[in-house]
Amino acid sequence: MLNLHSEQRFIAKGRRGKALQWLAFVMLLLLASMMMIKGGYMQAKAHFAQYLIERAFNQTLADNKPHKPWSWADTYPVAKMRFMSAKLQSAKHDLYILAGMSGRTLAFGPGLFLGGADVGEQGNTIIAGHRDSHFLRLKYIQLGDVIELQNTQGHLSQYKVTDLRVVHESQVEEMATTEDSRLTLITCYPFDSLLAEADLRYIVEAKSI
């Protein structure tokens, strides 16, 4: 009697437990999908925004006026970057550069520092990008590679990579103006890190040729 009772209780408990387990399963599934969507959204944004930016840049080339890639944007394309490197040769590695370096701008494309020299201008042209999307390709840059920038007037300037180095985020002298005409690309380091925070920056220094 007592034995049977406890057995029923055990079965009932088992059923309730089962339902709870399924609930946990659904919750976990939801959580997992949310995490993936969050990460995927960032990557997708970075990837597909480039197409809209390309369109805006081509418009700019045609009429020489700044065009926003989408109506609510706080930025506009200022240049097109092409890598002439053994590992990054094809045109699919082209990048469209936006004005400004805020976190929101960088989510859509590499940003040009507005306090520095303009694209193709004498001085230090500084462009920063995310290590996990646009500027992941900097990993494959080698000394002597050529980077070509096209500004909004369609003028092309070429830079030859002269130095690759890792600096601390406090070394802001990387962003100082220079007498020669150079391009400084900044991204976070190390490339394989998964985190959003980083103390180190990878600097690609290229001089005008």
């Binding site: 946990a24 399963f25 993936m36 990460g39 706080d74 020299a117 601390h168 890190s193 103390d199």
Partner: protein, 705 residues
């Protein structure tokens, strides 16, 4: 659950391990340069011998200081002895006070003499490259930052004496009516030269030979300090916080002496107050000719120009009742898309903080702009409780999105002054919080200059890499100041400082001219206002033949005020030409834009070379000037390492941090995927479809039935 638990934990463990390993790997590759400043507490010589890192303390330190108003000209001479029996290469390190710049140095190693000369950067760089090829890389890269003077001392013979003499200029600190200056004397218990990363990374034990000899008594060495103070006014309450001093007064001049064996557990700190009345007080200093003589070929045109400095001090606090000034504070906050994220949070916190400091008689308004301009009130309103609640709610609801249309916002903040001309008594202060990501800079500068009238524009730079050149120049045109907030931890301190400072303006619209109405050359063209917490010094240049009194005028609470200062009553000071040239260089740097960049750079280089200053276009190099009869072969220019005093170079270097260039997208993806896989496993287990489950779990069932 049993199946999932351990497996899940195991996977999580692996995943955590990966992440932590990655984050840990970064600090090793870079030694934090900022730590050096904590460790270097006085001038020492560091060297490396037999795998050990050692440090020499000076046998004798002689310091000469000449204080004129807010400027302190310091000459430090330190003598060291190489107690080793071998030849060594060493490094001299000296912690400079903040805001100091080295302009001269001389090294004597045995019989060799090295002298600091100013060279154009290009030339210095070439010397750099040469040194680099000779394998002296460490000295080239390591000293780019932090306020530490470092120079290489090469080939020091056994028992040889080293004499280092450096001259620098610093600003005396002023707070609540008390001036103070500090000279580093503390010996750090242990010293870790992190900047020599890699090379000496394994040095575990640090030996301090001088300290070991005097182990049983307090470390001490011979120190003599000779300080001449000309504060511009009578001195009251001169005191040294930790050391016994002798003082002699002679009119406006005070001479302070500290001599003999001095305990090395405290820095030397000297404080004084001046006898200022209940009104703004002015004093003047002057100097004839330049501090650094030009090189031989230019000697013909040595001029006797007079470099003068006028000092304006706010009234002392005890004399003055806190007068109530009716202020109108306009906060302008940039809510464009570029501010999204951390920046807008910081800006909102700064704004909240500023609101708490408002007094009931102040009136205020908040303007926010992105693609369009909105404001809290149509006109500025009294800062009463009800309005403040409204304001707080308004700020909380702000969100960053859209474009950056700064011109209409400036127009709203400054333009409405025109309607207020009749109520002159109100002081308008516009506090502008932005990251400065604008493209039409030139147009905005023009607008500010045109619309400013009686307002003052204070720019507050927010975010990791704000366009500080734009904001500095905007503040300079707007006769205000630029404040930079880099991290959220700094919001409170920086904002409170700014608000405190500007809450008590004492003298505004300052102008300086000669008795005959002509205007001497001073920089920048707009003289700052005098606030209760910040006195100002205006340095200017007068041709020798035009020596005549100067008049300084301004407004105190809307009332006209002027004072006449006579140069002939002033005592001679030193280093004023450097202060003047530095102010001119800063002003030139600020005026730089893409059109005139090259020309301005040439002007800066010419000025810096002429006055022997470190600037954006020049650097200080060590040159071997040993007399020819000395029996050492290596003549000519000798690269000892670059001397980069920070402080004076701040104008040319971007503030803050390099931009943040990473997202956690891959982390989210990876975490999501792992969790997804685990969840699937869990689901399979629930369905009892995992291999093995059928065999183990099902057999008991017939028993139960």
């Amino acid at each position: 659950m049993f199946a999932k638990g351990p497996l899940g934990l195991g996977l999580m463990g692996v995943w955590l391990l990966v992440v932590t390993n990655m984050s840990e790997s970064s600090p090793h590759s870079y030694a934090d340069a900022s730590r050096v400043s904590d460790e270097v507490t006085q001038g020492v010589v560091n060297y490396h011998i037999n795998g050990q890192q050692k440090q020499m303390l000076a046998l004798d330190t002689q310091v000469e200081m000449a204080v004129s108003g807010l400027i302190n000209r310091v000459t430090v001479k330190q003598i060291f002895n190489n107690i080793e029996q071998e030849w060594i290469n060493a490094k001299y390190v000296f912690p400079l006070p903040d805001n100091a710049g080295v302009d001269g140095m001389e090294l004597v190693i045995g019989e060799r003499v090295f002298k600091g000369v100013i060279k154009p950067k290009q030339q210095a760089k070439q010397a750099f490259e040469r040194a680099k090829q000779q394998g002296k890389q460490a000295s080239l890269v390591s000293q780019q930052r932090s306020n530490i003077f470092t120079t290489q001392l090469a080939n020091i013979g056994p028992q040889q004496q080293i004499v280092v003499e450096i001259t620098y200029l610093e600003t005396v600190s002023y707070q609540d009516g008390i001036f103070s200056l500090r000279f580093p004397l503390v010996v750090a218990p242990r010293y870790r030269p992190d900047f020599q990363r890699g090379e000496f990374a394994q040095a575990q034990q640090i030996v301090v030979p001088m300290l070991n000899q005097t182990q049983h008594q307090l470390p001490s060495h011979k120190v003599s300090l000779n300080i001449h103070i000309d504060s511009g006014f009578g001195l009251t309450q001169l005191s040294s916080l930790y050391h016994d001093i002798q003082q002699h007064n002679q009119g406006r001049l005070t001479h302070v002496v500290l001599q003999g064996k001095v305990p090395l557990d405290r820095d030397f700190v000297l404080q004084w107050q001046t006898d200022v009345g209940d009104e703004v007080a002015g004093a003047i200093f002057y100097q004839t000719g330049q501090t650094h003589l030009l090189s031989v070929e230019d000697n013909a045109e040595v001029s006797d120009d007079i470099y003068a400095m006028a000092l304006l001090l706010p009234p002392s606090l005890e004399h003055k009742s806190q007068h109530h000034i009716n202020r109108e504070l306009i906060f302008v906050i940039d809510t464009s898309g570029s501010m999204a994220g951390e920046s807008i949070k910081q800006a909102k916190r700064a704004l909240d903080l500023a609101l708490t400091t408002l007094k009931p008689m102040d009136s205020f308004n908040i303007i926010d702009f992105n693609s369009s301009v909105q404001s809290l009130f149509i006109q500025a309103q009294a800062a009463n409780a009800a309005n403040l609640v409204k304001a707080r709610r308004y700020v909380a609801a702000l969100d960053a999105d859209g474009g950056t249309e700064m011109a209409p916002a400036l127009d709203k903040a400054l333009g409405s002054t025109i309607n207020h001309v009749q109520q002159q008594s109100k002081l308008r202060q516009v506090i502008f919080l932005t990251d400065g990501a604008v493209s039409n800079e030139a147009q905005l500068f023009e607008q500010i200059a045109h619309q400013l009238q009686h307002s003052r524009l204070f720019t507050v730079g927010i975010g990791s890499a704000p366009n500080s050149h734009f904001m500095k120049r905007a503040a300079s045109i707007g006769r205000g100041t630029f404040t930079y907030i880099g991290k959220s931890a700094e919001v409170e301190q920086q904002m409170t400082q700014l608000i405190d400072k500007i809450s008590q303006p004492v003298l505004t619209d300052v102008e300086l001219y000669h008795l005959d109405g002509s205007i001497p050359e001073y920089w920048p063209a707009n003289i700052e206002d005098v606030y209760q917490r910040s006195p100002i010094a205006i340095s200017f240049k007068v041709p020798a033949e035009q020596l005549q009194p100067v008049i300084i005028s301004g407004k105190i609470n809307g009332q006209y005020w002027q004072t006449q200062l006579d140069l002939t009553t002033a005592d001679a000071a030193t280093g004023l030409d450097l202060v003047w040239a530095n102010a001119k260089i800063s002003a030139l740097e600020l005026s730089q834009d893409s059109a005139n960049r090259h020309r301005v750079e040439q002007q800066i280089a010419a000025l810096a070379l002429r006055y022997h200053l470190v600037s954006s276009a020049t650097s200080l190099l060590a040159v071997d000037v040993t007399p020819v009869n000395a029996h050492y072969g290596d003549k000519g220019e000798y690269q000892l390492g670059q001397l980069v005093p920070a402080g004076w170079q701040i104008n040319t270097i971007q503030q803050g941090f390099l931009p943040q260039t990473a997202t956690a997208s891959r982390l989210w993806l990876l975490a999501g995927l792992s969790l997804f896989a685990l969840t699937l496993l869990f689901g399979l287990w629930l369905k009892r479809m995992l291999p093995g489950q059928l065999l183990i779990i099902q057999p008991p069932e017939p028993d139960n039935a």
